[in-house]
């Protein structure tokens, strides 16, 4: 917001990501390499003092929560990419609970192109988003 003082990192929630939140969801266009690279660089620019790249995602605990995210937060995306949280962490990323639940930031430190390529290589499944393209009632 205008006049907001600059800060070195996004707000990190006190509460950790719940133990039963095993899914991480991103809209398909956001995982396109050029979009991911560009956004990761914008994140680093915004939070330069934190020293890492970041990409937004949301955690979910069930397939129903994935569909709710598709309707509430990700309705611009025809397809959702669903990762297992453990797979993302095993691939060397930190998943940080940032801003308002269930938002998370997937962070990495290495070269932006390398980091994005590593994320794109993480095993995932795709879910068609029934809410895509629907106008508000």
């Amino acid at each position: 917001m205008p006049g907001e003082p600059s800060i070195d990192h996004p707000r990190i929630r006190r509460a950790a990501i719940p133990d039963d939140a095993w899914l991480v969801v991103r809209g398909v266009a956001s995982i396109e390499p050029e979009t991911s690279r560009r956004q990761a660089e914008l994140f680093r620019r915004r939070f330069e003092g934190w020293g890492r790249y970041g990409l937004s995602a949301f955690y979910a605990r069930s397939d129903d929560e994935v569909l709710d995210l598709g309707e509430d937060r990700l309705d611009a995306f025809a397809t959702l990419f669903v990762y297992r949280l453990a797979d993302v962490i095993d691939a060397g990323f930190e998943v940080v609970p940032t801003y308002r639940s269930p938002h998370v930031t997937i962070t990495f430190y290495d070269d932006v192109v390398t980091g994005v390529a590593r994320l794109l290589a993480v095993s995932h499944r795709t879910v068609a988003n029934p809410a895509f393209g629907q106008e508000e009632e």
């Binding site: 917001m1 205008p2 006049g3 907001e4 600059s6 996004p10 707000r11 991103r26 809209g27 398909v28 266009a29 956001s30 396109e32 050029e34 979009t35 991911s36 560009r38 956004q39 914008l42 620019r45 915004r46 990409l55 937004s56 995602a57 937060r73 990700l74 309705d75 611009a76 995306f77 025809a78 801003y99 308002r100 938002h103 393209g133 629907q134 106008e135 508000e136």
Partner: protein, 80 residues
């Protein structure tokens, strides 16, 4: 339709809105609070209202649900 402003529509911050920077606009002069523009990246587009533009260039937008068409942009603009 062409994108006026690059926004990863997956993002949100403390405001609850997607964010980007003014220098990600094709023409920064169209990024004015209250104005409806086309935002997005790749295959994910949305008509969105510009919420604010900070002194450091940080921009928040409020995407409108639904498809992106010239007709919808015109109609939505007339309602603002």
């Amino acid at each position: 339709m062409k994108i006026d402003l690059f926004v990863d529509l997956n993002t949100e911050d403390e405001t609850g809105f997607p964010w980007t920077y003014l220098d990600q606009a094709v023409d920064p002069s169209v990024v004015v609070p209250g104005r409806l523009i086309v935002v997005g990246s790749g295959s994910a587009l949305a008509i969105a209202e510009v919420i604010d533009v900070a002194a450091d260039g940080l921009v928040h937008v409020r995407p409108l649900p639904g498809p992106v068409t010239e007709q919808r942009l015109t109609n939505a603009s007339q309602r603002v």
